[in-house]
């Protein structure tokens, strides 16, 4: 199917791509063990001092809790609303289902910063000034498109007659949904949740216009920190987040396989 040369080129690029993608992550992990406040690579030694300083970063804990709350809540709400919408769209009994799907996914491709300023003006105009609620509502638009996109893609490959078949064979409706549909959609659900969590947790452009001095999300706190006094504390924090994600990926790989998850990532 492919000439040998083409295959070699593909492999070289694949491995190059993997190394290139890992490069900044390796730098972050290495810098987190730096014994000095400046990032001198290669390191002259190893130290855990920056890990001890994470919790003492100015305003770190409130920002972490705020980002976690917003990310978990907006992901949970988006998973419910987005999955319901995806089911209705995928079954195709709705007029204009395709256009509706495009509408739900479109915020993903819209500039976050533009959405941020639009929401700032809109919330001001309608007098919606509670920062926490404003952030949550705004992040719904960040997370919902990920869920809608992944679930519509996953459901479009799901054969709804399987549910009917299970029912014909004596399963209750709820039972057949649980035993046929839920396992088939598990990879999509997992990846939708994972992407949505990360998208909200790492969102800067939408949040920057909605936060105030007292409530800053973690990315905003981090960028401020980099601009003011960069030291390896941030690298240590990122290393911990990376380690957590690696564990999540390993579990996902065991549960459903990264390959199946990547297949639903379109």
């Amino acid at each position: 199917m492919m000439s040998r040369l083409a295959i070699i080129v593909c492999w070289v690029l694949a491995i190059g791509l993997a190394l290139f993608l890992l490069l900044p992550l390796v730098v972050i992990v290495a810098a987190s063990f730096s014994p000095t406040p400046v990032f001198d690579l290669p390191l002259s030694g190893a130290s855990l001092r920056w890990y001890g300083r994470i919790g003492r970063l100015d305003g770190f804990w409130p920002s972490l809790f705020l980002s976690l709350q917003i990310a978990v809540l907006s992901t949970a709400l988006s998973l419910v609303a987005g999955t319901l919408a995806a089911i209705a769209i995928a079954r195709g009994r709705l007029p204009g289902a395709t256009a509706l799907g495009t509408l739900l996914v479109s915020p993903l491709m819209m500039p976050g910063l533009v959405l941020g300023i639009a929401l700032l003006q809109y919330f001001r105009m309608i007098g919606f000034t509670a920062t926490w609620s404003a952030l949550l509502v705004a992040h719904l638009v960040v997370t919902l498109p990920y869920v809608a996109r992944t679930m519509i893609a996953g459901l479009s490959r799901f054969d709804f007659t399987l549910i009917e078949a299970a029912r014909t064979l004596g399963c209750t409706y709820a039972g057949s949904v649980m035993r046929v549909m839920v396992p088939a959609l598990a990879p999509s659900f997992l990846i939708a949740g994972l992407f949505s969590l990360l998208a909200s947790f790492d969102n800067y452009p939408v949040s920057i216009f909605l936060t105030d001095v007292r409530s800053k999300t973690l990315p905003i706190r981090m960028l401020q920190y980099i601009e003011e006094a960069p030291d390896p504390t941030l690298a240590a924090l990122s290393t911990l987040i990376l380690a957590g994600t690696l564990v999540l990926l390993l579990i996902s790989d065991r549960l459903v396989g990264l390959h199946r998850m990547a297949g639903t990532a379109d």
Partner: protein
């Protein structure tokens, strides 16, 4: 669509009730999108044509589209989007074929390298690139050690740094959708074409490329719209020297307090994104 036929229930319930239920399912998402996405953007459009006294004006657009400086800003954004998308595609597309052939632990490792970067904050990755590209950074050190250069070259705060960083950060959004279609590619089509006498080039352009087009369109649309509107990456990697629409918008709102002008710049950036989405939607609907 065969889907509609296949998913038709054996006993058909009343169509009105089904349609009503379907609408109830979509309603929450639709409400969110209407209230927190469509309405605010419509308002932004309004703000962009208002003058401080409340009248209608085209001044903000005239300033944006009539000044060479701001035309340069728009071009900077487009250039960043185009270059990032092109490079990301040229690397991802062939790599996806190798990835699709990989099996076992190697496949998991390669896929993890696509997923893992998404977990690191964009801010932290951009910061890592500032460390790598510094004059006394790792890349200069390696280049000097290997003997390619004698003195460190200035890379940070250059356009090269910006493109390298942007490609690095947005690559997974190209590679993942392309991998998804390549992995599903049925090799028998290509074999059949080859059996019928098609040369490898013909097989590629007439069979493989059209079959993988949906993934390419998805990846290109996503990477272009993300990179054309990137804010953190240009801020950290080139700073003031490469003003883009995104940094101009942020400046207008956060520093200059010119919401009308910022809104107009926002509308232009939005228009670029809408064109890309509309284009990709049209392309992916075309019969393959």
């Amino acid at each position: 669509m065969t889907d509609a036929v296949l998913s038709a229930p054996i006993v058909k319930p009343a169509p009105d009730r089904e349609r009503l239920a379907a609408f109830g399912f979509v309603a929450p998402s639709l409400l969110i999108i209407a209230l927190v996405f469509v309405l605010p953007l419509a308002l932004l459009l309004g703000v962009s044509v208002l003058d401080p006294k409340g009248g209608v004006t085209s001044a903000h657009y005239v300033r944006l589209l009539g000044t060479p400086y701001y035309l340069g800003v728009i071009w900077n954004s487009l250039r960043l989007g185009l270059l990032t998308t092109l490079i990301a595609f040229l690397v991802s597309y062939p790599a996806a074929f190798a990835l699709a052939r990989a099996r076992g632990p190697l496949r998991s490792i390669l896929l993890a390298t696509l997923f893992l970067p998404l977990a690191a904050s964009v801010i932290v990755k951009a910061f890592a690139w500032t460390i790598l590209l510094r004059s006394d950074g790792l890349i200069n050190a390696v280049l000097i050690a290997v003997g390619i250069i004698e003195d460190p070259i200035r890379m940070i705060f250059t356009q090269t740094a910006l493109i390298v960083g942007a490609v690095n950060i947005f690559l997974p959004f190209m590679a993942l959708p392309i991998y998804a279609v390549v992995a599903q590619l049925d090799g028998r089509y290509a074999e059949a074409a080859a059996t019928l006498g098609a040369s490898p080039l013909v097989v590629f352009f007439r069979v493989i490329l059209p079959l993988t087009l949906p993934g390419i369109i998805a990846g290109v649309a996503l990477v272009f719209s993300l990179s054309v509107s990137a804010y953190v990456v240009p801020t950290l990697l080139v700073g003031e020297k490469y003003p883009t629409l995104a940094t101009t918008i942020a400046k207008a709102y956060l520093l200059a307090r010119e919401p009308g002008f910022g809104a107009a710049a926002g509308v232009v950036l939005l228009a670029i994104a809408v064109i890309v989405v509309a284009l990709s939607a049209t392309l992916s609907r075309e019969p393959k």
